[in-house]
Symmetry: C2
Amino acid sequence: MPRQVDHDARRRQIAEAVWRLAARGGLEDVTLRQVAAEAGVSARLLQYYFGTRPQLLLGALEILNTEGEQRARQRIELLGDDPGTHAIVRGVLLELLPLDEERHDRHLVYVAYFVRFLSDPDLAPAARQAPPALENLVTGLLTHAQELGEVRPDVDAPAEAAYLVAGAEGLQSRMLLGQYTPEQAVALIDHQLARVFNAETGERPQPDSA
Amino acid sequence: MPRQVDHDARRRQIAEAVWRLAARGGLEDVTLRQVAAEAGVSARLLQYYFGTRPQLLLGALEILNTEGEQRARQRIELLGDDPGTHAIVRGVLLELLPLDEERHDRHLVYVAYFVRFLSDPDLAPAARQAPPALENLVTGLLTHAQELGEVRPDVDAPAEAAYLVAGAEGLQSRMLLGQYTPEQAVALIDHQLARVFNAETGERPQPDSA
DNA sequence: CGGTTTATGGTTCGATCGAACCATAACACG
DNA sequence: CGTGTTATGGTTCGATCGAACCATAAACCG
């Protein structure tokens, strides 16, 4: 069924236009006419593929979510098999940083949606899931590393995991504001990881897989 | 000149309406008519006190900034004289958390403005100053504490300060999303502070001064 | 080949937006 | 007392918005 492919491709094309506009001027610039112009299609098509404007916003966000998850998983797998817990945690945290244009725009779009997440009952579930999931993942990885002896038993795994993730999110904002270079932000994360992990278990700072 | 007082009070009244609307629905809900209704004044007054809509957005942000600085300084001074470096750093970091309604709304408004900071040349300077200033302040405090022996000499003060501030900012986002209670967030910060500072220099976790 | 669904463009409508314009109270000062 | 500045409300205009409506080309199906 080649129809389905066309259909999804069209939705994706339109969603990308929404992302670009939201990353620039915020959600208030995401008007049906502007999206249509940015996507190079007629305004009627937005109605056809997404319906009303709130549905367009929601749909574009859902596509961004699934796409982001895919990319993250790919980049983690790109570390090779058995990359070591240290490297995996590092990969998860770096995923939160805007280290390339794709992640830059994605995180920016999330910020543009943020305030809506709090009040809009349709948008809320799309954003409330990811962060705790990440934190639980890191907690699990740290606990695992503790059992392997790669992390000293006196570190509070949940507390450290929570602050590692929170710190990465904070660095994300600052990078978006242009106040940290990618190198500085990565160095700060590596500094914390070097503290949590025993030194000898650390991978050499291999460049972020693009 | 009681005129000036009235003038500023009016501007503040209008700015508060802008904040409330931005904290709910984001900047796209900050329309001149809605602000007028929320503030209980006529739309004409917004023009009179602020001019055009971009000027209103900018003015409301500036008022929020100065007000936020004042409040922060007050709360720090409320710690008493010579509260100890540990307590001061703690106070600075807690200022980033939405621990009361005032800070909740303020941080929310910043998020609503965030995307604009990146593209709007008028808005940008209002937001780019604060974060690095905070970080430098914490770095200075940690270095000072190091000289006093309250922090071990082998900790990297700038790196730890940067991650402390970044972590507090990350916790801020999660609290706004309702994923952390104030107690949990404060506990995470205290956990990090206990690690950076020598144990005996720590104040007992005195409740956040409201 | 004929009909039904799918996919697309164009147009129009009522609502709302930002901003300019017009009016006039209230108070200040000479 | 009068006159001018300050402070406020109301109205209107052109532009734009979201959404509904109308049309039709293309593709698929019996």
